[in-house]
């Protein structure tokens, strides 16, 4: 069974440029998460989807960040425009249900110069 797939693995952009990250969860997992992980810190939730509905986006900076999960499968996280402080690893995870563990992708390391 394939795990959570994320692309790209690495991205370097200049500040004020847009950037997008893609995630394909494990087949059959209805719940999808996007996390932000700063260096030396634990993951922090940005947004959680149940199927195609964003059920928790309270920590998503909506002035520059947006996300979508069309058809309730794969998802895209976008930043526009990127700022220097956005440099971090963006992790995607999926889960089969309420008591299930979260399965993480390898992450996308973003560097904003």
């Amino acid at each position: 069974e394939a795990g959570v797939v994320q692309s790209p693995r690495y991205k370097i952009i200049e500040k004020k440029q847009p950037v997008a990250f893609w995630c394909n969860p494990i087949s059959g997992h209805n719940t999808l998460y996007w996390y932000l992980q700063n260096l030396g810190q634990g993951p922090e939730l940005l947004i959680r989807y149940e199927n195609e509905e964003a059920v928790d986006d309270s920590q998503l900076p909506k002035d520059r960040f947006s996300a979508e999960r069309l058809k309730g499968v794969d998802s895209t996280l976008k930043i526009q425009p990127a700022e220097l402080g956005d440099s971090a690893v963006y992790l995607c995870a999926s889960s089969p249900g309420d008591r299930g563990e979260q399965y993480f992708g390898p992450g996308t390391r973003l560097t904003v110069t």
Binding site: T31, G40, G42, Q102, G105
Partner: protein
């Protein structure tokens, strides 16, 4: 609101020595507890979880953790570590009886010396 404290940011140990990584949480309700491991340049992987039942939980790679409700702790232990255990370890707590949203600690870097 729930929170997780991992007091040790780094723990160096010699190979084949025992190790304990400490985790304390705060919550006004009953919770689920987790330990995740992150190897370099990889995503997080579940080591073990406490949902209910026995307070001693066994996980993968020889790790175990004990849930102590009175001390609000969930320390991770391994009797004998290997070089391959070098990684970052994260403790996490759920928001109530739902694994849908979990809060991660800041992590403990375990470094194994030969």
């Amino acid at each position: 609101a729930q929170s997780v404290t991992q007091l040790d940011s780094q723990v160096p140990v010699f190979e084949e020595a025992p190790v304990e990584l400490r985790c304390n949480y705060s919550s006004s309700v009953s919770v689920y507890l987790f330990w995740y491991v992150q190897y370099p340049n990889q995503g997080l992987q579940l080591l073990l979880k406490y949902l209910s039942g026995s307070t001693l939980v066994k996980g993968i790679n020889g790790f175990e953790a004990e849930f102590n409700k009175s001390q609000t702790s969930f320390h991770l232990r391994k009797p004998s570590v290997h070089i391959s255990d070098t990684a970052e370890y994260f403790c996490a707590v759920s928001e109530g009886y739902s694994a849908s949203k979990i809060i991660f600690g800041s992590g403990t870097r375990l470094s194994i010396r030969p």
